[in-house]
Subunit: 307 residues, 2 copies
């Protein structure tokens, strides 16, 4: 089973009451209704040594920062306001206060910067061999606008991304800025139909928006903003389309709303129009030469398409 | 550094605004204020193969149940109402849908039983060697009464526990019932001054209540309810005092309120008076023979005291 199949299976196991749980499994955060019309959103992210970072090259400060920034990016993906975080760790044998203080420094750097205080946690240790794992769970609340979901993309919508994509593994995945403020600014300016953060690569994550919205997409290859780190690679476009951990925002909105957003937007973080939502139910990409090809999730391969 | 020293260090690093975070680091859950007077509480618990369970003997259903029940016990410890849970997992190489479905069965068994739906999660895998870890984060809300903290014990209070203690490692730690309903019933009947759940053993956890409340305690050895599993051990009292993972409630209240609670209580889960809060600032235990000895956290040793 692939991740999306497993997530889908989980989602089908229990019917959540929409009154109690307005947003359940399958979005960037779940939303829980509280009394007096209030609600809170929650996300959890587990980061593992050797998978999401490598302690041979990354510092514990960087790991602490990344673990918070990953969850902050989920808050951004719904355009919600971060409230508080709890951090649970699994420590290798022999670790103690020194390592925890280094991790803590990275956690609170992000917590302070994004006004999302660390309010609790859990410290556990492997009894035998075991590598370092850190799990951040974060709460947020809706701003003036309702949380933006993955499922609202409409045929004819413009597809946009913040920042530039690809090559994150080189350096950016440890240092990225979650787009919390940009997301909150955007929903003040325009009505967004669908949004998520790009954690598994543009082609994979756009496929999730398409799947949950019941639509297709046509991406303009020449419009995809390619990061400097991706440009150094053999196939920069494939890197921008398929590589994960960009933690940029991917969203759709009507052409009218895009015009408005585009006109007003003066944040240093650029927003780029990269394509359009279609009624084909499939993801396609138009090459710079004008050929329209399938865009498989995670599978765009420049050389394969040339065959 | 010991766990409590590390937690204390973390707590001192940032001054949390009491208006935004009424309860911060160091209690069973943190409380976050929301608009319109609403608030939500959050806890996170990381459980590791080889530390908190052993997959050589425990099933994944049991682990799923325990991971939820551990966090539900935190909700009980504050006398709050569970709302929703998210579950993050770190999977060993080669695990997939089959293992996740077994884990899920245990998670939703607890979720259904305690009306605390699973609303999201994160599935990650170790790239190389790595053992199974599961991290549950849970939200709750206050009931009619404010959350019961660790810091409210008063000199003269009666000290009580639910259920019976010790020997949990034999079997009960995988199957225990979190005392969610009992806690909510108790606060309807009586005003509790301090409460927590016993996760690290009575002597260790009572020391936390004493430390945070600035008081001492005198425990009556003959009054401590010893579980059947502990009675089979060489030193049943030491097992009841020191062993962890009882997940029973430890609380204090005035003698008047205890009289009221004791009179009305008809739940199948017993409540037992085990001692009194003192102004000595130290934890003591009175042996059945009437001798008053120090009760070091985690360190009660029947044989050592006989010397």
């Amino acid at each position: 089973m692939k991740e999306d199949e497993i997530t889908g299976w989980f989602r089908q196991q229990r019917q959540l009451s929409p009154a109690a749980i307005p947003i359940g499994i399958g979005d960037d955060m779940a939303q829980i209704a509280l009394d007096h019309g209030a609600s809170v959103l929650v996300t959890t992210d587990m980061l593992l040594d050797g998978t999401h970072f490598d302690l041979q090259t990354a510092t514990l400060e960087q790991v602490g920062y990344k673990s918070m920034a990953t969850s902050l990016s989920d808050c951004a993906a719904m355009a919600t306001i971060p409230l508080a975080a709890v951090v649970a760790v699994a420590l290798p044998h022999g670790w103690g206060g020194r390592q925890l203080q280094a991790l803590h420094a990275g956690v609170v750097f992000a917590a302070d910067k994004y006004r999302c205080p660390l309010v609790g946690g859990d410290i556990t240790s492997w009894k035998t061999d075991g590598r370092f794992a850190v799990c951040v769970s974060m709460l947020s609340k809706p701003g003036d606008k309702p949380p933006v979901r993955r499922s609202g993309a409409k045929v004819g919508d413009v597809i946009c991304v913040t920042g530039s994509l690809g090559g994150s593994g080189l350096r950016r995945h440890l240092e990225f800025e979650p787009r919390v403020n940009e997301a909150l600014q955007m929903v003040q300016i325009a009505d967004l139909h669908a949004m998520m953060d790009i954690s598994d690569g543009l082609s994979t994550d756009l496929n999730r928006i398409c799947g949950q919205s019941g639509v297709g997409a046509l991406v303009e290859a020449s419009a995809v903003p390619i990061s400097e780190d991706a440009k150094a690679q053999a196939d920069p476009l494939a890197a921008a389309l398929n590589e994960g951990e960009d933690f940029e925002l991917l969203f759709t909105l009507s052409p009218e709303q895009w015009g408005k957003l585009h006109r007003v937007w003066d944040d240093p973080v650029p927003i780029t129009e990269i394509g359009v939502i279609t009624n084909t139910g499939r993801m396609k990409i138009r090459t710079p030469e004008g050929r329209v090809l399938d865009l498989p999730p995670g599978g765009y391969d420049h050389l394969a398409m040339e065959v």
